[in-house]
């Protein structure tokens, strides 16, 4: 019996690989398993290798797993590229119509040639090979074509029952073929009970429904991989909610529109990735100085510049924290799993209005474009609050021109806000430094007061957890990360604990305001700190040094190949560090 199942389908881009993976993954989710996925693809439309990995587990995981048990190959490249990942006892299913297929010599892997294309043709169309292959898989792991029926009905039901049946039939043929010709099997672990609240959802989808739950009713966005799907979700859902989507002409327009909509009183966001984010730098400062709420989602991809548009990275941390000339208060959230993507995106809108400042939510391609299991979202936690609006009564009590939108006397830096339509609440939002009623000015004293007012907003910020920690109280080795690498780090942590290492795992959920008070005790207590990041310069580590110190204690595990982390590579590094620690102690 396998604890996890790692399954992967691969072929050329444009061949239906993605939907094969989706059907398999969703079906296993519906059977009650926890499912995590990872899609490998390239920045071209047709041709080029793509594959979809599905990890099936009995506990919720934030990673698609190192191990591969079943590889389903539609072409030779898939075999070449992925075969080495198969564990001993794993299965390679490949299409016998691959010309001169060559399979590496490895007698610990079950080689399963199946005439996928031929059987598919029998079923009426070569596209059916996807179903045939799922059928063969089902046979190996003890499922039946019927276990996939509900997903197929959702997908193809609108085209008629017949289409569904045809697909089931193709699956059955694959199933039968395997049973008839092979007799090795993998036993899936017992199914957890499927809770009705559970969601199977990508990071980008979670961003979208998080935004919707957070009251966002305006999205202006420009297409860019891997953030485009956020827009698709909004286009789909907004009409019912009275919301509007604008496909902007570029990212500058997109962010300026989001600012304009927020100014007008709509909760609005824009979503983008690195190149688009870089184009938003001037506008970011405008939102800051004009105290206009703004939510930007940066679905990070591998940079710099156009970089690797279909690969993942965590290298925009610096520019999210420090990009844009001059100084503004800003909040930068780094959700660590898809559930947090949902909650933090939702909360971003409350924070943006509460503090009247920009909020950046950092996700990445890894989390954004792949699907994960979320245990449940509590509807009762979804109420929103709208921040510091002036009441109409208060405005009516003022003389014309008396309303101080940028009142510097407010203790927490957050002054009363109005929106167009409110009588006597006129003000001018502005990129220039302005006086309290919003008139451009250049006087030294007033300027300093306005700067101080804005800076005050985020002092003592604790609306969003800064970091979370698991581990012994004075763990010697501290694993640190932020954002989407947290899931895999937990597996590394578990493995180290199992080996008796004195280890703790500290994971940051926000980087601005930097959670110094949350992280300092752990940083200070640790003997060695291993910071794991998907970038080449150790951006998080540099911030820990800057905000906390302890320079001599840091080690970094950095990956910037564009691929996500593997448990084993981080674990190997962590063990090295742990070993060096022991040596130091014995010296």
């Amino acid at each position: 019996m396998s604890k996890d199942l790692g399954w992967k389908v691969g072929g050329a881009q444009g061949e239906g690989i993605e939907s094969t993976g989706d059907i398999f993954a969703l079906s296993l989710f519906r059977l009650g398993y926890y499912v995590s996925t990872y899609r490998h693809f390239m920045s071209l439309i047709k041709g080029g290798h793509t594959n979809g990995k599905v990890r099936v587990t009995t506990e919720n995981k934030g990673h698609h797993g190192d191990d591969l048990h079943i590889l389903l190959a539609f072409d030779q490249e898939t075999i070449n590229f992925n075969f080495h990942e198969l564990v001993d006892g794993g299965f390679l299913i490949y299409d016998t119509s691959i010309k001169d297929a060559t399979v590496p010599a490895n007698d610990k892997v079950n080689i399963v040639p199946v005439p996928l294309t031929d059987i598919a043709k029998e079923c009426g169309s070569t596209i059916m090979k996807n179903m045939v292959s799922i059928g063969a898989t089902a046979a190996i792991i003890g499922l039946t074509p019927d276990d996939f029926r509900s997903v197929l009905t959702d997908r193809f039901g609108s085209k008629g029952d017949e289409v569904v049946e045809k697909n089931i039939e193709a699956m059955q043929k694959g199933f039968d073929f395997y049973k008839a010709n092979f007799n090795n099997y993998i036993e899936l672990p017992a199914r957890p009970v499927l809770k009705p609240d559970r969601l199977f959802i990508s990071g980008n989808e979670a961003t979208s429904i998080g935004a919707i739950a957070g009251g966002a009713r305006f999205l202006s966005q420009y297409p860019i991989t891997p953030a485009t799907e956020v827009m698709y979700q909004m286009v789909k859902n907004f009409p019912k909610l009275g919301g509007a989507v604008v496909q902007a002409e570029d990212e500058i327009a997109a962010v300026m529109m989001a600012i304009g909509a927020n100014y007008t009183g709509a909760r609005a966001l824009t979503a983008t990735s690195g190149p688009g984010f870089s184009l938003m730098m001037e506008a970011l400062g405008l939102a800051g100085i004009s105290e206009t709420p703004l939510v930007i989602v940066d679905v990070m991809r591998a940079g710099p510049s156009t970089g690797l548009p279909t690969k993942t990275e965590q290298s925009d941390l610096f520019t999210m924290m420090y990009g844009s000339h001059g100084e503004i208060p800003r909040i930068v959230l780094t959700p660590r799993n898809v559930e947090e993507v949902f909650y933090m995106t939702k909360e971003a809108f409350n924070l943006a209005e509460k503090y009247q400042c920009p909020v950046i939510v950092a996700t990445d391609l890894f989390m954004g474009m792949n699907k994960w299991t979320v245990e449940s979202i509590d509807f009762d936690k979804l109420q929103n609050t709208r921040g510091n609006f002036a009441s109409q009564e208060y405005l009516d009590s003022l003389e014309k021109g008396e309303f101080k939108r940028f009142d510097v006397s407010v203790e927490n830096g957050v002054s009363l806000r109005t929106i167009p339509g409110m009588k006597n609440g006129r003000f001018v939002a502005m990129g220039n430094e302005s006086d309290e009623v919003g008139v451009e000015m250049e006087e030294a004293e007033l300027r300093v007061k306005q700067m101080d007012k804005r800076a005050k907003k985020l002092v003592g910020f604790d609306d969003i957890v800064g970091a979370s920690y698991v581990g012994a109280e004075n763990a010697e080795l501290l694993l640190v990360d932020f954002g989407s690498t947290s899931g895999i780090q937990r597996e590394v942590y578990d493995a180290l604990v199992a080996e008796g290492v004195s280890v703790g795992h500290l994971s940051l959920a926000r980087v601005l305001p930097f959670p110094t008070v949350d992280v300092a005790p752990y940083i200070n207590a640790a003997k060695k700190i291993l910071v794991t990041e998907l970038n080449s310069t150790g951006q998080l580590a540099s911030q820990l040094k800057q905000y906390v110190g302890g320079h001599e204690k840091y080690e970094s595990f950095l990956k910037y190949s564009g691929d996500p982390l593997l448990v084993r590579e981080v674990l190997a590094k962590a063990k090295d560090v742990a070993a060096s620690l022991k040596k130091e102690v014995t010296l």
Binding site: P196, L199, F200, I209, I212, A213, G215, R217, F218, S220, N237, F238, P239, L241, G242, G243, A244, V246, A248, E249, D250, I252, A253, A254, M256, M257, A258, I259, G260, A261, Y263, T264, G265, A266, R267, A283, S290, F349, F379, L382, N384, R386, K400, G401, I419, P420, G421, M422, K423, N424, G425, R426, F427, V428, A429, M430, G431, N432, G438, E440
Partner: protein
């Protein structure tokens, strides 16, 4: 009902004689004339001398970034279609750095009025060549005279499908007021380009120059404002030196009406909280 005085705010600090004073006056009059309340209107401006207009206009205002008034104005309108939205700025702001936003808003037919104070110069940065500077214009950046073809905003707007294309002049407050009023009433994108002399840095395109050169098509009964090609030709014939409503068509619906998916109630009025039922439906797609 609001009066002209309600649309006054800060005292302008433009140079004495600057054409922008008249533009502001016309905008204030137009707003009062069509019976707006100050809080129903938003003036969004870019950066430049002209961009200061949002501070002086007694409506809600957004003095945004250089070249970026249009996307802000677009979003203001789309977020609250009950508002009357004016975007305003200079020739550098609108036809230089901002020309992309201008053309795309036009294509979408966003229901805003765009006022360009076209002084053929960068005023606030003290007198460089602008995208509407005449050929031969000499400035510190072009001491030998610019050789660039100026932007032709009126013709370009017509080509791009704008339904209300007008040109005014700071020397004619009455006409300018009417043109702005017309623009605000027009359902869809309206462009009002205004020859608004910079008395400090442009010694060529002066009041005198315009007095001598402008043709007023509003006074020409034979001129057909609804004929696109005639309009394009007329502009060419006059070497752009004409005023009035040059092209008018009410054929197209504005963006928020044309798009069937666009909400019929203002977006700002949408509830930020979801009902249990809506929530359940929303997440059902992820199960």
């Amino acid at each position: 009902m609001a009066t002209l005085a309600d649309f006054r705010a800060e005292k302008p600090n433009w140079c004495p004689g600057c054409g922008d004073f008249t533009v502001l006056a016309a905008l204030q009059k137009a707003a009062a004339n069509i019976g707006l309340e100050p809080e129903q209107m938003v003036t969004v401006s870019g950066v430049g001398c002209s961009g200061k207009i949002s501070q002086y206009m007694g409506s809600y205002g957004f003095h945004s970034l250089h070249g970026r008034s249009i996307p802000v104005a677009t979003a203001v309108k789309l977020s609250n279609t009950d508002l009357t939205v004016v975007a305003a700025g200079g020739d550098g702001d609108g036809y230089g750095i901002g020309i992309g936003h201008f053309l795309h808003a036009l294509r979408r037919n966003i229901d805003i009025t765009y006022i360009v104070m076209d002084n053929h110069i960068y005023g606030l940065t003290t007198g460089q060549t602008s995208p509407t500077s005449d050929k031969g214009t000499k400035t510190k950046t072009n001491p030998d005279g610019s050789t660039d073809e100026p932007v032709h905003p009126l013709q370009m707007a017509i080509i791009a499908g704008c339904g209300y294309v007008a040109q005014g002049y700071s020397g004619n407050l009455k006409q300018l007021t009417e043109l702005i009023e017309g623009g605000m009433k027009h359902k869809g994108f309206s462009l009002i380009n205004i020859y608004s002399p910079c008395v400090t840095f442009n010694k060529v395109n002066t009041y005198d120059f315009y007095k001598q050169n402008l043709v007023n098509v509003d006074e020409d009964a034979s001129y057909d404002k609804t004929d696109r090609f005639a309009a394009i030709k007329k502009i060419e014939e006059c070497d752009e030196h004409l005023t009035g409503l040059i092209y008018h068509s009410t054929e197209k619906l504005p963006y928020h009406e044309a798009n069937s998916a666009f909400p019929t109630t203002p977006v700002v009025q949408a509830d930020v909280n979801l009902s249990q039922d809506t929530w359940t439906k929303l997440v059902s797609q992820f199960k």
